[in-house]
């Protein structure tokens, strides 16, 4: 570990924190329907969208209507994305002449982008036409991110409103997320990325004759426009197979810094939106503090693990001073590669600038744990906040049990119905992860995809089902997941991880919105102080730790012991 490495980590944290409050103020205005500096240009567009779609933005929906609207959009989106992928051979913007995508891969990919997972069973530059990247994948990047943001705001309204029958209007929340937040930011970001070297063209791949006379085909495409939303929307699906490790998808450390801040920016700001909407910004800062403590712990462990060289390789004559450079890029080095791996899995992004499969056993375990904790460390846009608020409900419930009082959170009484629904939402992802892992580990078709043998092979499977159920999308990419078995298995995981969490979460929102607000009294457990932050961290770690420790001990922990003993497989 170096001083400069920690300086970069500190710089990233500082920029993210500085953005939280201004961006939170802007988002609060957008979701409250107030005017922002973008309204003179965009308000007419917004109104025309509502007119065409027959939407009345100020008409509140009950939680169930909100959920059905969200699901209706997903049904339409799935059918369209699946059709585009299957038919890409006959559609425009296909200069490489790629054939239609196979049914199982199209199913997996459509669900993957629909659920904000962006798991990639394919290599972008060898499979997807420019048309598919734009019309199927970029569109879903916007809509899945906007959906996450809308859902978080719906849950926030559950806390903020009193005796209300509705949680907002899904169509208005969706439209505002795209028009006022994601699209304007992406236009700016995409042009900055081009300036830094990211290609943006519809021309076919370039042919070069290298200095030594070999042929080199250089894949190109409309990369910058997709990269911008891929990071800002915490989608993470790479234009290229190597994702943001590809020099065209991340040309230098400045582009990399912008990408890292993009991943956390909106998620961190939403904690501030929560604070503002419930009338006490400290509530938002407490949530962010819990996230920050978990985040920095993960960064420290991963950076420490990757900065140490692999003893097996040192014995073979590799200089240990540079750390574990297998699967990492020289321009990023150990510090940024470690930081990015923690950011991308703390959020539900899943973009990578280094290959997690080649991380040390412990360095690769932290990304897994981040996802297994529910991606609540800032988390996916929207998804991180609503995930963490569900943990907060559990935390105040535990505190209530200890003192024998009905728990309250942000002015709302937390009662039996909310706690039951919350546990249902929180258990769906571990359920999907572990059951699908068991299915894969006990079937020949599952084991056929492994690159590694020994405990690392188990880690490849554990990472895959974890990533799918947590809607992350990063991988231990040695696993060959483009088989009907893995495509279907992981599609099931992604669906459960997204929708089985969202629907009960919305039910909690509806149930909370209907309650009156209770004024804080002397007996109220304060949820903006250090005690609450500590309790929240404890609940997240205990739920995640108890659930996953057995699986982790068979994979990365066994892997670490084997590596330190010098054993290869």
């Amino acid at each position: 570990m170096t001083v400069n490495g920690w300086l970069q980590i500190a710089l990233f944290c500082a920029i993210t924190l500085l953005l939280t409050r201004p961006l939170g103020g802007f988002l609060t205005k957008v979701y409250s329907g107030e005017r922002t500096f973008l309204h003179p240009v965009l308000a007419p567009v917004e109104r025309s969208f509502y007119a065409i779609a027959g939407v009345r933005p100020d008409r509140d929906q009950s939680w169930s209507a909100y959920a059905i609207a969200m699901l209706a959009l997903h049904v339409v989106g799935f059918l369209a994305a699946y059709a585009v992928l299957r038919l890409q051979g006959a559609l425009p913007w296909n200069p490489q002449g790629f054939a239609g995508v196979t049914p199982d891969l199209a199913l997996n990919t459509a669900i993957s982008f629909l659920t904000n997972t962006n798991w990639q069973s394919y290599g972008g530059e060898t499979t997807m036409s420019y048309g598919s990247q734009m019309v199927a994948l970029t569109v879903q990047n916007f809509l899945s991110a906007a959906t996450g943001m809308a859902l978080a705001v719906a849950l926030i309204r559950g806390f903020a409103r009193k005796s209300a029958s509705g949680v907002g209007n899904f169509w208005a929340d969706l439209t505002r997320s795209v028009l006022y937040v994601l699209l304007p930011a992406c236009i700016v970001l995409a042009l900055v990325y081009v300036a830094l070297g990211v290609p943006q063209t519809l021309q076919a791949y370039a042919s070069a004759k290298t200095l030594e006379g070999a042929g080199q085909t250089i894949a190109l495409g409309p990369v910058a426009s997709q990269l911008a939303i891929k990071m800002l929307g915490t989608n993470g699906g790479g234009f290229f197979n190597a994702n943001s490790a590809h020099p065209f998808e991340n040309p230098d450390a400045l582009a990399n810094l912008i990408q890292m801040v993009s991943i956390f920016g909106i998620g961190a700001a939403l904690t501030n939106v929560f604070g503002r909407m419930v009338g006490d910004e400290r509530q938002g800062w407490a949530i962010l503090a819990a996230m920050g403590a978990l985040f920095l712990t993960g960064v420290a462990v991963t950076y420490w693990a990757e900065a140490a060289a692999n003893p097996i390789h040192v014995a073979l004559g590799v200089d240990p001073s540079a750390g574990n450079m297998e699967g990492k890029e020289v321009r990023f080095g150990i510090a940024l590669s470690s930081l990015f791996a923690v950011i991308t899995t703390a959020a539900s992004c899943g973009a990578v600038i280094a290959m997690h499969d080649s991380f040390s056993a412990i360095g690769g375990m932290i990304p897994m744990i981040n996802m297994q904790l529910g991606e609540v460390i800032v988390g996916g846009v929207g998804a991180g906040l609503y995930g963490m608020l569900l943990f907060a409900v559990v935390a105040v419930f535990v505190a209530g049990l200890m003192v024998g009082r009905t728990p309250e959170y942000a002015g709302k009484k937390i009662e039996s119905r909310e706690v039951k629904l919350t546990m249902l939402a929180l258990l769906c992802s571990p359920f999907a992860t572990l059951v699908l892992l068991a299915v894969a580990a006990t079937s020949a078709a599952g084991l056929a995809g492994l690159l590694a043998s020994g405990p690392h092979g188990f880690s490849e499977m554990l990472y895959a089902t974890t990533s799918a159920a947590a809607n992350n999308g990063s991988a231990f990419a040695g696993l060959t997941a483009n088989s009907p078995f893995w495509n279907v298995l992981l599609a099931i995981g992604m669906m459960i991880g997204r929708f089985a969490l969202i629907v009960p979460m919305l039910a909690v929102a509806g149930s909370l919105a209907a309650k009156t607000r209770v004024p804080a009294s002397a007996g109220t457990f304060p949820t903006h102080g250090g005690l609450f932050v500590g309790l929240l961290i404890g609940v997240v770690l205990i739920v995640g730790g108890l659930t996953y420790f057995p699986a982790l001990s068979l994979g990365p922990i066994a892997d670490a012991l084997a590596t330190s003993a010098g054993q290869t497989f």
Partner: protein
């Protein structure tokens, strides 16, 4: 459900047109006019022919050139239409065998006695890493100078000139672009 169908269909079509067609095409248009070099892949031309991209690594095996990192992209490495890392795990036997070979290669080519620099014997994440560390370039300078019958200080001066520091002195790691280095060598003859 049916009452949700019209907004679902209408908004999906509108957003597809805006975010899936208009947005990427508009960015393409602006980028092609304002920043055509970057937008088209930062390609390098020499005598009218494209010889590569300044951002994309390529394979070098001749002793007259600086060598980049091992690459797992495509069958023969540095396939810029099939980016990939090795994805071999920390205790993979295949990785240990590959590294053994790469260490032996670096040692025999450059006649070093100590440990091999990590970047020269590990595959990058993309398989297209265009850079090596300045230390790894200096290590190759004696061999390149000998093969080209150039004074070694002249070769080292080229590395000095082309080495890129951290962005703003803080971000990333110091590096040298191997293709830029080899182009500069060729232009000296």
């Amino acid at each position: 459900m049916l009452s949700h169908l019209r907004p679902a269909l209408a908004l999906f079509v509108l957003f597809t047109l805006v975010t899936g067609v208009a947005y990427p095409l508009a960015i393409t248009g602006v980028a092609q006019v304002a920043m055509p070099v970057q937008a088209n892949g930062s390609l390098i031309e020499k005598g009218g022919a494209v010889i590569g991209s300044s951002l994309i690594g390529q394979g070098f095996s001749s002793p007259r050139y600086f060598h980049g990192r091992p690459s797992a992209a495509g069958k023969d490495g540095y396939d810029a239409s099939a980016s990939s890392g090795s994805n071999l795990g920390p205790n993979a036997k295949a990785l240990a065998e590959r590294i053994t070979g790469d260490v032996a290669k670096v040692k025999s080519e450059d006649g070093i006695s100590g440990a091999a620099p990590a970047d020269l014997v590990t595959a990058s994440a993309s398989g297209l890493d265009p850079d090596i560390t300045p230390a790894s370039a200096y290590l190759q300078a004696p061999r390149v100078a000998r093969e080209r019958a150039m004074p070694e200080p002249e070769v080292r001066a080229l590395v000095d000139r082309l080495a890129q520091p951290r962005v703003f002195g803080v971000l990333g790691e110091p590096r040298v672009n191997v293709l830029a280095l080899n182009l500069a060598l060729d232009s000296k003859r």
